[in-house]
């Protein structure tokens, strides 16, 4: 099952954030469909649209891996199913 999801990363900017997050996604066979990333002051902000291959790794397990990376790098990383945004923001 391929599940569209939205990934957001927020926190102090440092070297290796994109590498760590995209590495975890590649390992999970999750495809990055779109990325937007910016630095506001010293705050790193990134939103990604990804497709999670749940046969390879269920979404909730990928959430746990990303949360672990978030802890290591001092970032707030969330991964949510995409339809919650679609339902809220599209009629």
């Amino acid at each position: 099952m391929r599940t569209p999801a939205v990934l957001t990363v927020l926190g102090e900017d440092r070297v290796g954030i994109v590498a760590a997050v995209s590495g975890a996604l590649a390992e999970a066979n999750a495809n990055i469909e779109d990325i937007r990333q910016t630095i506001l002051g010293s705050i790193f902000s990134m939103t990604m649209l990804v497709t999670v291959d749940e046969d390879h790794l269920p979404l909730v397990e990928l959430q746990s891996r990303l949360a672990e990376i978030g802890r290591q790098l001092g970032l707030q990383i969330t991964l949510q199913r995409e339809d919650v945004f679609r339902f809220m923001h599209r009629v």
């Binding site: 939205v6 902000s45 939103t47 969330t78 995409e82 923001h89």
Partner: protein, 454 residues
């Protein structure tokens, strides 16, 4: 990208800072198949039915919380009004059925199960009378069971004998749980125009017009609405305020609609309703009173409060109705005093009185809710309050309810404290001029002219 970064940030802010959540996923269960003339066998059947059907409710809700990143605060169950089952048995005390429900709720990991209930708007059957008599004992010996009794409808009028019986039941329940701040009364609702698909406690039942099992969802989000109203300019017109609330209610309700669809599909049961209610919690900022204050009334309860609440309630319905075609339940802003930090402040400062709360219930959902009153309030006064509230519901063809908390041994200015979502309630003063005659007349307040609609 399908979404702008602003949209994504808006959703995350609503969840992390403004307490957006799904307030409850409530599984409605018919217990009709559990009927037996032996009350102990019936209690066993009830336990089996609830635990076998609802075993997956809590794990599934937790899975949905993780996948969507949306907190689902409560997982609950509503069952067939127990008086309907009780007709099959001659047992006088129906507490064994309440105990079975309580055990089943504990087994499946939910905090409340509703349906220790009877509908007596037109007359009290023998089974109804046994259920009502069992309420104080049942609520004192269980933790999770909620009771409700419907004493009036627009079609039938008000059963004044039932009103007086329920006033006495409220006092008896307070006495039976006096050592725990009358907590039994927090689990007892007296309704006019009770609905069959309400997902919110303590008044949830699974009505006779429902399928065997059904998922109903109650949304929330006072904190989100308050933040949106606060962000408007102080001179923004009320049309603009209404528009902003409407747009926000749409977004909140869409989350409820999504969760309702997923929960029903994954549990393999019928999808019921989404209840468009703004349900406050004691948490700071998650308050309906504070929305009214953000609209510009200095303190909730002051002049302008009823108008502000009416506008809020109407705008929530308009936005919510666009977001789901399955509206139902109570669908209106709740104003429970003990569960809303802003209401508590307003009551303690003298801005909010019982009479103002009564006026507010004519324009919102659901009634005089979680209001502590002096423990020595006479039964006729409580009956008068119930009758007044029922009359508002019956005449205006809406649901109203009373959940009063007589504070045993305490007077106005005292306090009841429950903790958790039930919060704490300042004891409010009660108008002493009820007299003892009106409530004791009994009989039936006839169905109003408005009931003749065919």
């Amino acid at each position: 990208m399908h979404f702008t970064p602003e949209e994504i940030v808006e959703t995350l802010t609503m969840i992390t800072r403004q307490r957006l959540d799904v307030r409850t996923i409530t599984l409605g269960l018919s217990l009709s198949s559990c009927v037996d003339s032996d009350i102990d066998l019936m209690a066993r059947n009830v336990y089996e039915r609830v635990t076998s059907t609802a075993a997956r409710l809590v794990p599934l809700a937790e899975q949905l919380e993780r996948e969507y990143g949306i907190p689902i605060v409560n997982k609950r169950i509503a069952v067939t009004p127990i008086a309907q089952l009780a007709a099959a048995t001659r047992a006088r005390d129906l507490t064994p059925l309440a105990l079975a429900l309580d055990r089943a709720a504990a087994t499946v990991g939910i905090d409340f199960i509703g349906g220790f209930s009877a509908l007596v708007q037109k007359g009290i059957s023998d089974a109804d009378a046994r259920l009502i008599a069992s309420i104080p004992g049942a609520l004192a010996t269980t933790e999770r069971v909620c009771a409700s009794v419907n004493v009036a409808t627009t079609r039938a009028g008000i059963n004044m004998d039932a009103v007086l019986a329920m006033a006495q039941t409220v006092l008896d329940t307070a006495q039976a749980t006096a050592d725990r701040d009358s907590i039994g009364c927090a689990k007892l609702v007296i309704f006019a125009n009770m609905v069959e698909d309400n997902p919110f406690m303590a008044g949830a039942v699974h009505g006779s017009g429902e399928p065997d099992t059904v998922v109903n969802v109650g949304i929330s989000g006072p904190g989100v609405v308050r933040a949106v109203v606060e962000s408007l300019a102080p001179d923004a017109g009320l049309t603009e305020v209404s528009e902003a609330i409407k747009a926000t209610a749409f977004k909140i309700t869409r989350v409820g609609e999504l969760i309702a669809r997923e929960a029903a599909t994954r549990l393999g049961v019928a999808r019921g309703i989404v209840d468009l209610s703004l349900a406050p919690t004691p948490a700071e900022g998650d308050s309906v009173a504070e929305i009214i204050e953000a609209m510009g009334v200095k303190r909730c309860g002051g002049p302008g409060t009823t108008a502000a609440l009416a506008l809020l309630n109407d705008a929530v319905k308009k936005g919510g109705a666009m977001a789901t075609s399955s509206t139902g339940g109570l669908s209106g802003a709740f104003i429970p005093v003990s569960e809303d930090a802003g209401m508590i402040r307003a009551a303690e400062s003298g801005a909010l009185s019982l009479e103002k709360l009564e006026a507010m219930t004519s324009v919102c959902s659901v009634g005089l809710d979680m209001i502590a009153i002096p423990g020595d309030t006479p039964v006729e006064t409580i009956a008068g309050i119930i009758a007044d509230e029922a009359a508002i519901g019956v005449i205006n063809a809406k649901t109203t309810a009373v959940r009063l908390l007589p504070a045993v041994g305490k007077e106005a200015g005292g306090r009841l404290s429950f903790g958790g979502l039930l919060g704490e309630a300042p004891v409010m003063s009660v108008n002493p001029w009820a007299g003892s005659v009106f409530a004791r007349r009994g009989g039936r307040f006839p169905a109003p002219l408005g009931s003749l609609r065919n």
